[in-house]
Amino acid sequence: MLKYITRRILFLLPILIGVSFIVFTLLYLTPGDPARMVLGDQATEEAVREFRDKEGLNDPFLVQYGRYVYKAVQGDIGRSYMTRLPVAREIMNAFPYTVKLALFSMLIAIVLGIPFGIISAIKQYSLFDSVMMIFAMVGLSMPVFWLGILLILFFSVHLRWLPSSGFNTIAAMILPSVTLAAQSIAIVTRMTRSSMLEVVRQDYIRTVRAKGQKESVVIWRHALGNALIPVVTVVGLQFGNLLGGAVLTESIFSIPGVGRLMVDAIKMRDYPLVQGGVLFIAVAFSLVNLLVDLLYAWLDPRIKAQYR
């Protein structure tokens, strides 16, 4: 198992090289001059030229990329063009917001989605099931910004119960987390339901019933243990995605998270920040995936046997 984890972490290296190369290429090909963006329209030709020289933007592509990798290996991923702060620090300032937002909304999605899915499945075609499936459909198709604005209008403007921006108090975290969770709740509910429906038809569930086991134990112990396995994958992927920053939610609720940082960086052609950000997201995503795989092995002994 430990060997497996080590190997998976070593796999990160080629992933990072690949990701950084692709991002570097894309940025290189993107129109727009960072010097102009950073220095503003009023800047003199000379100032622009000086900036480009200093940042090595006139060098050939491969030289630029080589220099980036060379420094990155030593732990230096550059400074933001805009703030002149180290990229690592910029990301680390934004990341806690993103993690909190992702954690909270995933928590909501799990705490609501899994029980909803289970009840929907064991009461298939009931009123509850129909209502849940309609909600899930609405949740999936409702644009995030629209839901966010609706929630702000109702809970912040109309009722004045919850703040509409910021992310430092529990009260302030509720609306953004719910907004972001809406889709995940819908996805987790549907996944749990279909997985559960699949599992309760299996022969081994019938075997448990034939033992004379109580229906509640049949469902919560035997069926759920099996039905959760695919749900874990979905939750993991969702969480990984959320770690990349929820641009829309962060913008609506003015949360200074990774999503907003990245969008601003892209707008301003802040190359080092974009590159650093993408690398960081790639690492976070890979680690979450590894975690999901480990959880998977813990839930399913058949998979554990394959992890060598």
Binding site: Q202, T207, K211, G212, D300, P301
Partner: protein, 337 residues
């Protein structure tokens, strides 16, 4: 029917599955009886309704789509269909146990096998978890699996071993009625023989009554005292093994025996039964076998045949083949209808 104490007496049982495009009459007015300590072979081609009947006895017919629409299942004299779910739970596993058809999928993949056996023990005995696990290991050894393997997961076992685990679960609480649904179909011949021997041995030890569901007339001859032949949801012939093998009466039974390859007779071709099993959502009128029956007469397509007792304990649902015997024995009402 002769006076013997019945452990199981199924009367006019009908079970249906509602599916798209119609209703499957999986079991239709089925009558069946089993005495204490008896071995009944339950034979019929695929889709005849054998598993459905067994699930009916356990009250485990999946609903939806299935439903028991009529009949009585008397177990030790009391109708199982009138029991509450709680009463059924203590009967399932405790008094009636079932060995399921497909061992590959019958075990929970995320639970070690000792726990799966212990669960059964815990449900029907007043023991601690520790004692239940000990009993599980005992059961595993009884079915020939070494105790070191007790903490393994099902995927670490071969098909034959899984079948043994399934048997160990079924036998863990000494049921008085055991329903074995093709317990050997999934196994190769040598393991098959071992499993049968095992079941015989266990039967000797705890004197269980057995319903053995199978396609295999050879196994029936070896294991069973009584045989019921099922066709399209009905029992068409019921007799002692000895009577049935020597004097098969129903044309379908006859067809079954003729389709067994016989090394002594060297015939070019097997006499297989003509035609196919009828569409279960749209059974032929009258006797469901009449379209395939070489003896069919015009009235067969009109009247559903009742069971006739042609000699003590030998019942047949075929007026054509039993007509000439009627004078000597007479119609027996009640037993079939």
């Amino acid at each position: 029917m002769e006076d013997r104490k019945l452990i199981l007496d199924i009367q006019d049982l009908s079970i249906q599955y509602r599916v798209e495009g119609g209703t499957v009459h999986a079991v239709e007015n089925l009558n069946l009886a089993l005495g204490y300590g008896e071995n009944l072979g339950f034979v019929g081609e695929t889709g005849a309704g054998k598993t459905t009947t067994a699930l009916g006895i356990m009250r485990l017919v999946p609903d939806p789509p299935g439903r028991i629409t009529s009949g009585r299942i008397l177990f030790e004299g009391a109708d199982l269909l009138r029991k509450t779910e709680d009463e059924m739970r203590s009967i399932r596993g405790g008094k009636i146990a079932m060995i399921f058809q497909d061992p590959m999928t019958s075990l929970n993949p995320v639970m070690t096998v000792d726990k799966q056996i212990a669960e059964m023990v815990l449900l029907h005995n007043d023991v601690t978890e520790r004692q239940a696990l000990d009993r599980a290991v005992e059961m595993l050894e009884l079915v020939g699996i070494r105790s070191e393997r007790a903490r393994d997961y099902p995927h670490q076992f071969s098909g034959g071993m899984k079948q043994r685990v399934v048997i160990a679960i079924a036998l863990a609480c000494n049921p008085i009625l055991l329903i074995a649904d093709e317990p050997t179909t999934a196994l190769d011949v040598t393991i098959q023989a071992q499993v049968l021997e095992l079941m015989r041995e266990l039967r000797r030890k705890i004197n269980t009554s057995l319903v053995m569901i199978t396609h295999d007339l050879g196994i029936v001859a070896e294991m069973c005292d009584k045989v019921a032949i099922m066709y399209a949801g009905r029992v068409v012939e019921y007799a002692t093994t000895e009577a049935l093998y020597n004097r098969p009466v129903h044309p379908y039974t006859e067809g079954l025996f003729n389709s067994i390859p016989d090394i002594d007779r060297d015939e070019e071709e097997l006499k297989v039964i003509q035609g196919l099993m009828p569409d279960p959502t749209n059974l032929p009128s009258g006797c469901p076998f009449h379209p395939r029956c070489p003896y069919a007469v015009e009235s067969c397509s009109r009247e559903a045949p009742g069971m006739v007792e042609i000699e003590p304990g030998h019942l047949v649902a075929c007026p054509v083949r039993t007509e000439h015997r009627l004078n000597s024995v007479g119609w027996k009402g009640g037993a079939g209808r």
